[in-house]
Structures are given as C-alpha cells and as structure tokens.
C-alpha cells in the first residue's frame, strides 16, 4: 500500500514534505546535520544573510518566557561572501533545497544580496526578511508600510531568478494589507509570521533582561496569533503561504495547513528538541494515515 503523500509544491519548488526549519533557528544547517541527515527536511532555511558580516547585538540575546522565548540576535551572520564561499557550497552537498533568508538596511543591500545568492545557483529560493529597520526611512521596518514593502519586493524580484518568498512581520495592524502589497510587488509566496515584539524585565536588576531591551517573541505562545494571520492572509492572496509560529508537533503543523498554509517552518522547537523537524514530519504522516488523508491538498485551507 502506498503511504500518504507529504510532498508539496511551493511556487514551483517541489519539496519532499512541508516541513522546514525557520530562519535563524538552524544556523546554516551544520549543527543539526549531526542529529539527522538534512535531506529528511522539505528544505533548509538559513540564517539571515546581509552584505557584510554582522556581529549582532550585545548579550544577553535570548530569554525564556512562558511558552516561548525572546531573541535579539541582531542579524548576526558571517556576511554574503562567507555564505557564498563556505556555507552554501557545503549545503549544496546535502541533497535538500536551500532557502536563503536575506536581510538589509536599504533596498540596495537587499537587491545586491538577493542577486548574488540567486545568481550563485546554490539556492532554491530566497526569503526576504522585511522586519529589518529601514535605515533610510528612519529605522521603521520595511515590513509595516504597504508602499515601501511593495517597492522593495518589486526591486528584488527584478534581479531574482529563483522563487522569491516574503517573510512578513506580525507587528502590524492588518497583515492582509502587507500580504497584498508583497503579492503586488511580485512575491512568489509569503512566509508568516516573524516574531512579535516583546520584552522581559528582570526583577533583581530592575532592567530588561535582553541587552537590546526588546526582542522577538516566538514559540507556542504566539501560535494563535500566527494561525489567525495565516488564515486571514489565505483568504486574500493567490500565492502560497508558508506558516510558522510556535509549531512544535505534527498537530500544530496540521493546524497551519488547515488554516491555509502550503508548508510550515519550525523555529524555537528545534531548541527544545533538535529532532523536532523529523518528529513533526513523522507525526504529520501518522495524522494522515489515521485520518485517511492521501495528500495534503485534501486538508489545505479546509478551516477557511
């Protein structure tokens, strides 16, 4: 008997299954490759890449909160050149599609990094991280103004020969507006959600725990917000959605798929359990078997 079919097609990318690690929670794959072969994953998504190496924020950069964590890594990464020369060639040998998360402080930086990554032939797709502060626009994030976002996506799209996903920030009044702007700019798909902005104060020092004061909230605590945003977005866009935010089990992943996601990403759960992604894949398969679901198309968006 043939088992259930977990494969998904995502803006032309054919993935073995819908489960990918979320950017920033999986480095460039090397660490988790010690725990399982990366080709078990739908794709590998790497840490945000900027043009130059970035040290990131001072420490502490992470803190635990109820059902989640805060991070203020600050886009620490070895920079475009090192990624092109050291990380992507290594990943190319792992027999798994690679999605490169791209960040920048100005449109030109996004464009340059995206073009170089796309042209290298080493990535299957690009994911634009638009939560970054727009230096030229006084530090407001690229992801909160529909006009700014549409323009950024359009500029990057012009130089990007591979599928372009836009990763939306949830810290907005209406996610649909931003989703439509990204689609209008030419995005091939959307990833949501990035982290909610949060803070934790240490009662002993009477100061914020994170050196950066504020940080991004992720983990199970944000799941209801993430599911809602995927659901709302799926109702208005035509491009595929990659859902994430608090996924830790196969049931969580199925919930996002029922809300309209074509695939999912898993962030914080990798820290709780390095085998989170393979476990989630197995649990999705079990759920499909138990419920007689042959293909994920049968349940995608069924709660809409």
């Amino acid at each position: 008997m043939k088992g259930p079919d977990l494969s998904v097609e995502l803006a032309g990318l054919k993935l073995r299954n819908p489960v990918m690690p979320a950017s920033g929670c999986f480095g460039f794959g090397r660490e988790y490759a010690k725990y399982y072969p990366l080709n078990q994953l739908g794709a590998v998504v790497v840490k945000a890449v900027t043009r130059l190496p970035r040290q990131g924020n001072p420490t502490p950069r992470v803190a635990e909160v109820t059902g989640g964590m805060l991070n203020a890594i600050g886009l620490a990464n070895p920079g475009l050149e090192a990624v092109l020369n050291h990380e992507l060639p290594w990943l190319a040998k792992q027999d798994v599609p690679v999605i490169v998360n791209v960040a920048g402080a100005a449109v030109e930086e996004y464009v340059e990094v995206a073009r170089s990554i796309a042209d290298s032939g080493l990535a299957a797709a690009i994911e634009l991280n638009v939560s970054c502060p727009n230096v030229k626009a006084g530090g407001i994030s690229f992801g909160v103004d529909p006009g700014v976002l549409k323009n950024l996506v359009a500029e990057v799209k012009q130089v990007c020969r591979i599928p372009l996903f836009v990763k939306l920030t949830p810290n907005v009044t209406d996610i649909r507006e931003l989703a439509l702007a990204a689609q209008a700019g030419g995005a091939d798909g959307l990833s949501l959600i990035n982290t909610l902005i949060g803070m934790k104060i240490d009662l002993n020092s009477r100061r914020p725990v994170l050196a950066n004061k504020i940080g991004g909230l992720s983990g199970p605590a944000v799941k209801p917000v993430a599911v809602r945003m995927v659901y709302e977005t799926a109702q208005v866009v035509d491009i595929p959605i990659i859902g994430m935010g608090g996924i830790a089990t196969g049931a969580d992943a199925v919930e996002f798929i029922m809300a309209g996601a074509s695939a999912v990403m898993v962030g914080t759960a990798n820290f709780t359990n390095p085998l989170a992604c393979p476990n989630i894949i197995a649990e999705i398969r079990d759920f499909m078997l138990e419920n007689g679901i042959k293909s994920l198309d049968e349940i995608r968006g069924c709660a809409l």
Binding site: E31, Y32, G56, I73, A76, N77, G219, F271
Partner: protein
C-alpha cells in the same frame, strides 16, 4: 537522550547534586563540557538549561546545580527514578596540559563543578595540583572533601566562615608570594573573577583557560544567542559550540 535520576540530594545551601544513568557517551566526555537539560514536561519551558558535567564514570553522570530560577528549582524537585531529557556532551572542554606541568585550578561558587572532572584528569598528569575554590559563605561550600583528594586545596569564603577569608584572587596572590609557580591556570566562575585572573596573569607566560557562561537557546551553535567578544574582533565566538572554554588571551571578559 533520556537519563534516569539515580540520586538527587541537596549538598549545600541552594545546591543540589544529581546523578544520572542511561545511554550516554560517557567515555567521550571532556572536562568542561556541558549538557542541555529540558525543563518541565509540557510546553511552558521551551529552552533547555546548560549545566556542566561535574563527574562521570563508566555509567553515571553527575551534575551539581544551584537553584536560581524556575528551571533549576524544577530540577531540584525531580524524584529518583524520573527521567531527564538531556543533550550532550556539548561544547569544547579544557585542553589538558603536558605531563608534569605546574597547574592551578580556580573555581568560584557554582563554577566549581566542571573543575572537579578536570582536576580528576589533571591528577594523573600533574604531581602537585593547586586548587583554589571560593564561596560566599560556609553554608554554600560543597564537595570540598572530594576536591581535597585531588590536590592542595585552598578554600576561601567572602566572610571567612570557612577556609581563608577573602576572594580567590587574594588566595592566589598569597600562594604566589609563598613561592608557588604555575604554567597553567584553569578557571570557571563569575565573570569578574575570570577577568581579575586574566588581568593578574596578563603580563606573565602563564597559559590560561577560562570557562564562560551566557544565556543559551540552542546550545549547539545554531542560534548565535551565546556569543562572546574575542580579541581579534572577528565574527564572535559562540560559547556553546566554540567554548565554553577559551584561551584567556582570546576573549574580552
């Protein structure tokens, strides 16, 4: 990995010693390495806690922890027979010195546990191991008997309630003045203590290794949460994967 709790005892004020058994690569453990322990059984706690390996035998792992927050409190309350979910051994431990080197080991408070495993390895290599362990006060001292079997142990307490009054640096200075000489210093403890040692020996040829601490998320090098500043100011080192032990010439404390 699921390890079973064989013992869980309070050994000093707020300090617990937990012994674990089960499938674990005991032989491969280097002194200074740590494990990441999962807290709770639901999804309230998403981050594991880093705890140093304090002692290891062919089939047992011992950790020593101070209760400071929710996670360590939970650990202190787990019963014998229950299982802990651990990852490890993680990180890079202390490089061992050549045979017959003169070695000083310095621990501050809850920084001492990994130095026990280190010292038990050093004992075979170095004839005359000097050990200085600092605590705040007598009620917080632990494992002094065990450590004293491994070398010449000096205990200090801030309030003089046990051993020598003062901090570890006072003791180290005193020993130097009374003629001790070392080729290697190994230290783990609060950052100010490590910094003081680093500075104190900065103009000397003494080779030093310090074990650092930072809040961690992944514990395996994937999240860039736990970086420390290095002197060459290149892309910062991750304490969990590139450390926790660093050559003291390499890091800015």
């Amino acid at each position: 990995m699921l390890l079973k709790i064989k013992e869980n005892n309070q050994i000093a004020q707020n300090v617990w010693e937990i012994t674990l058994a089960g499938q674990f690569p005991y032989e491969s453990v280097q002194p200074g390495q740590f494990i990441m322990v999962r807290i709770g059984r639901g999804s309230e706690h998403v981050l594991r806690r880093p705890i140093s390996i304090a002692a290891v035998t062919e089939e047992r792992l011992t950790i020593v922890l101070r209760v400071v927050g929710e996670g360590t409190k939970w650990l202190s309350k787990q019963s014998v027979g229950e299982q802990l979910d651990v990852l490890g051994p993680l990180g890079r431990g202390f490089p061992l010195p050549p045979s017959n080197a003169k070695v000083l080991v310095v621990g501050g408070g809850i920084g001492s546990p990994p130095l026990y495993l280190l010292s038990s390895k050093l004992q075979a290599l170095t004839p005359d191991l000097d050990l200085v362990l600092g605590f705040r006060t007598k009620s917080e001292c632990f494992w002094t008997d065990r450590f004293s079997q491994l070398g010449n142990l000096v205990i200090t307490t801030d309030d003089g309630s046990a051993g020598r009054a003062g901090n570890v640096l006072d003791a180290v200075e005193g020993m130097l003045q009374s003629g001790h000489k070392w080729d290697y210093v190994y230290a783990c403890g609060p950052q100010p203590m490590l910094r003081a040692l680093q500075q104190y020996f900065s103009e000397t040829a003494v080779q030093g290794y310090v074990s650092l601490e930072e809040r961690m998320a992944c514990g395996v090098g994937a999240c860039y949460g736990c970086v420390c500043r290095t002197k060459d100011d290149a892309f910062s080192k991750r304490i969990c994967a590139d450390g926790p032990v660093f050559d003291w010439n390499e890091v800015i404390l």
